[in-house]
C-alpha cells in the first residue's frame, strides 16, 4: 500500500502544489508572472464591475474615467503642483527626523547609559498618535508648511530612533573590540564600524518608516492646506468627484511604490556586501 501511494502523492505535487511547498523557490519567470497578476487581476475585476454597471458610476468610476481625469489634472499642471507640495513636505519632515534619529539611535545602541536615559521617554512619546499633535502644532506654528513638516517629523522620529538602536545592537561585539585593539578611537568606531555595519538595516528602517510620513502628509493636508495630494482629495469630495479621488489615490500609491523601490536600489548599490 505505502509503496503504491508514494508515486501517486508525487504526481499530485506536480500541479499547483510545488508553489506552496515550504522552502521551495519558483523560477524567476513564474514569480514574474505572479507579480504581474497581482496588479492585473484587480484591474480586470474593477474594469468588469464598472463596465457591467454593477455599481453606480458615481461611487465606482470606471478605470477609463479615472485615467481621463488623471490626464486632465496632469495637463492643467495641478497634479504636478500637488506632487511637488506633498513630496516636499514628506522629504522635509522625514529628512529632519532621519538626521536626528540616526546619531541618537546609534548612541543609544552603543552606550547603555544613553539608552537608559532616553528609552523610557521615547517609548512613551512613540505611543502618542502624531495626529493628536495637530491642534497643538497649529497653535504653535500656524497653518503654513511648518506644522505639516513638524507633524511628519514627530510621527517618524521615534520609530526611526528605536529601529536604528535595534539595528546597532546587532553589530558583533568582536568587531567593535577588534577595532579598538587596532587603535580605533570612539568616534572612528561609531562612524566607520558601527554605522557602516548597520547601514543596510538603517536603510531598511527608513524604507519602512517613510510610509508613515506618506500617511501623515495626507492627514496634515486634510486639516489645512492650499495644495497637495491630500488637499485635492478633500476638494474632490466636496464636488463628488470620485474619479479624481481614485486618480489621486493611485498617484499616492505609485509615488509610495517608487520611493520604496528607490530605497531598495540604494540598499543594493551602497551595500553590495549585504544583499
Amino acid at each position: 500500500m505505502t509503496v503504491t501511494a508514494a508515486p501517486a502523492s508525487q504526481e499530485r505535487c506536480s500541479g499547483l502544489f510545488p508553489l506552496f511547498t515550504l522552502g521551495a523557490m519558483p523560477s524567476r519567470a513564474v514569480r514574474g508572472r505572479l507579480q504581474v497578476a497581482s496588479l492585473l487581476v484587480p484591474l480586470l475585476i474593477w474594469t468588469a464591475v464598472a463596465s457591467f454597471g454593477l455599481v453606480d458610476e458615481k461611487f465606482l468610476p470606471s478605470p477609463q474615467t479615472v485615467f481621463r481625469s488623471l490626464a486632465s489634472m496632469a495637463e492643467s499642471g495641478i497634479l504636478f503642483q500637488d506632487i511637488v507640495a506633498s513630496t516636499g513636505r514628506v522629504f522635509g519632515g522625514f529628512l529632519l527626523a532621519t538626521l536626528l534619529a540616526v546619531p541618537i539611535g546609534i548612541c543609544m545602541g552603543v552606550y547603555p547609559a544613553i539608552c537608559a536615559l532616553c528609552e523610557p521617554l521615547i517609548a512613551m512619546l512613540r505611543y502618542m498618535p502624531a495626529a493628536a499633535f495637530i491642534p497643538l502644532l497649529i497653535i504653535y506654528l500656524g497653518i503654513g508648511e511648518e506644522p505639516k513638516i513638524a507633524l511628519i517629523f514627530l510621527g517618524t522620529i521615534y520609530f526611526n530612533i528605536l529601529m536604528v538602536m535595534d539595528a546597532v545592537k546587532f553589530v558583533p561585539k568582536e568587531l567593535i573590540e577588534t577595532t579598538l585593539t587596532l587603535g580605533g578611537r570612539s568616534r572612528q568606531v561609531l562612524v566607520q564600524v558601527v554605522a557602516r555595519y548597520s547601514l543596510p538595516s538603517i536603510i531598511d528602517t527608513l524604507r519602512i518608516n517613510i510610509a508613515t510620513s506618506w500617511n501623515l502628509v495626507v492627514v496634515a493636508e486634510l486639516v489645512a492646506a492650499e495644495v497637495g495630494l491630500g488637499k485635492r482629495i478633500q476638494l474632490a469630495q466636496r464636488f463628488f468627484r470620485t474619479d479624481q479621488i481614485f486618480a489621486e489615490l493611485i498617484v499616492l500609491g505609485l509615488i509610495g511604490f517608487a520611493i520604496d523601490m528607490g530605497f531598495r536600489l540604494l540598499l543594493r548599490l551602497s551595500c553590495k556586501w549585504a544583499v
Partner: protein
C-alpha cells in the same frame, strides 16, 4: 618587549573569575594557555588587550601599565572579526588607516602581509567569499599590519574543521618562525598548545588560576612527524590527564 602579568584577579560582580594569576612573556616567545570552557581564558586575554579592567593586580608591557586597548597588542577573535563590507586587502589596511599611516606605506604593508599569510590572490575578495581559515588568516594579517609587539589569539582556529585546523597550526608555526613574533595563544585543545607553544600553562576553573606550567622541548622542524612522535604523545597524555583531573567528576 616583555609582558608581565602579576597577581591578576578579576571579578564579575561577586563571582571571582581569575585568582591572583601571574605569568610573563619574553620577546619572541610563543606561550599557550589551555583550559576548559569557562575557566577564564578569554577573560585573561581581554584584560591583557585592555578590553576589561583588572579587579586587582597589574599588567604591563615593557614596563608600561596597560590602561586600555591599543595597537601594540594585536588581537584575533574566534569569529566575526572581519569587516564584511571590506575586501581582504582593505581589511588588512583598516588598522593602518585608523592610525593615519601614509597611503604608500599602507599599500606596501598590505601587500606584504597578505603575502605573508598566503592570500595575495584573494586581495579583492569579500570576507563572505573566503573560507573560515582564509578569514582567520586575514584577521591575523590585519593584526600584524599595525606592528604589535605581541599577538593575542583567542581560540583563533576553534571554529574550523580538524584538517583545516592542523594546516592553520602549520601556518602559524611558520609565521612565528619567519617573523619572530611574540604570541600568546589561548586554546582548549591540548595538542594545539603543544604543537605551537614553547611553554604551556594549564588554567584550572572556578576560579581561574594556573595549576601547571610546562616547557615544550621538542624538535619542531616537522609538525606532522611531531604529532606522531612518542615524546609528543607522552606529553599530550600527561597534559590531558591534568585537564581531566580538573573537571568536576561526571559519575
Amino acid at each position: 618587549m616583555e609582558l608581565i602579568v602579576s597577581n591578576l584577579s578579576k571579578r564579575f560582580g561577586e563571582k571571582l573569575i581569575l585568582d591572583r594569576l601571574s605569568l610573563s612573556i619574553e620577546s619572541g616567545e610563543f606561550i599557550s594557555l589551555v583550559g576548559s570552557s569557562g575557566s577564564g581564558k578569554s577573560t585573561i586575554l581581554r584584560l591583557i588587550a585592555g578590553l576589561e579592567h583588572p579587579s586587582s593586580g597589574s599588567i604591563s608591557v615593557d614596563g608600561t601599565p596597560v590602561s586600555g586597548p591599543g595597537p601594540d597588542r594585536g588581537m584575533v577573535f574566534q569569529k566575526y572579526s572581519l569587516y564584511p563590507w571590506l575586501n581582504a586587502a582593505a581589511n588588512v589596511a583598516f588598522g593602518m588607516r585608523l592610525q593615519r599611516m601614509k597611503p604608500t606605506e599602507i599599500r606596501e604593508r598590505t601587500a606584504y602581509f597578505l603575502e605573508v599569510v598566503g592570500l595575495s590572490e584573494a586581495a579583492n575578495k569579500l570576507p563572505r567569499e573566503l573560507s573560515g581559515g582564509m578569514q582567520q588568516r586575514v584577521a591575523i594579517a590585519r593584526a600584524l599590519a599595525t606592528n604589535p609587539s605581541i599577538l593575542l589569539l583567542d581560540e583563533p582556529f576553534g571554529a574550523l574543521d580538524l584538517q583545516i585546523r592542523e594546516s592553520m597550526q602549520d601556518f602559524l608555526h611558520k609565521l612565528w618562525q619567519r617573523t619572530g613574533l611574540t604570541v600568546l595563544l589561548i586554546t582548549h585543545d591540548v595538542e594545539e598548545a603543544l604543537v605551537l607553544a614553547q611553554r604551556v600553562h594549564v588554567l584550572a576553573p572556578n576560579p581561574g588560576r594556573i595549576v601547571r606550567s610546562l616547557e615544550v622541548d621538542l624538535n619542531k622542524s616537522d609538525l606532522d612527524q611531531l604529532r606522531l612522535s612518542s615524546n609528543f604523545l607522552a606529553l599530550r597524555r600527561s597534559l590531558s590527564r591534568t585537564m581531566r583531573e580538573l573537571e568536576p567528576s561526571l559519575c
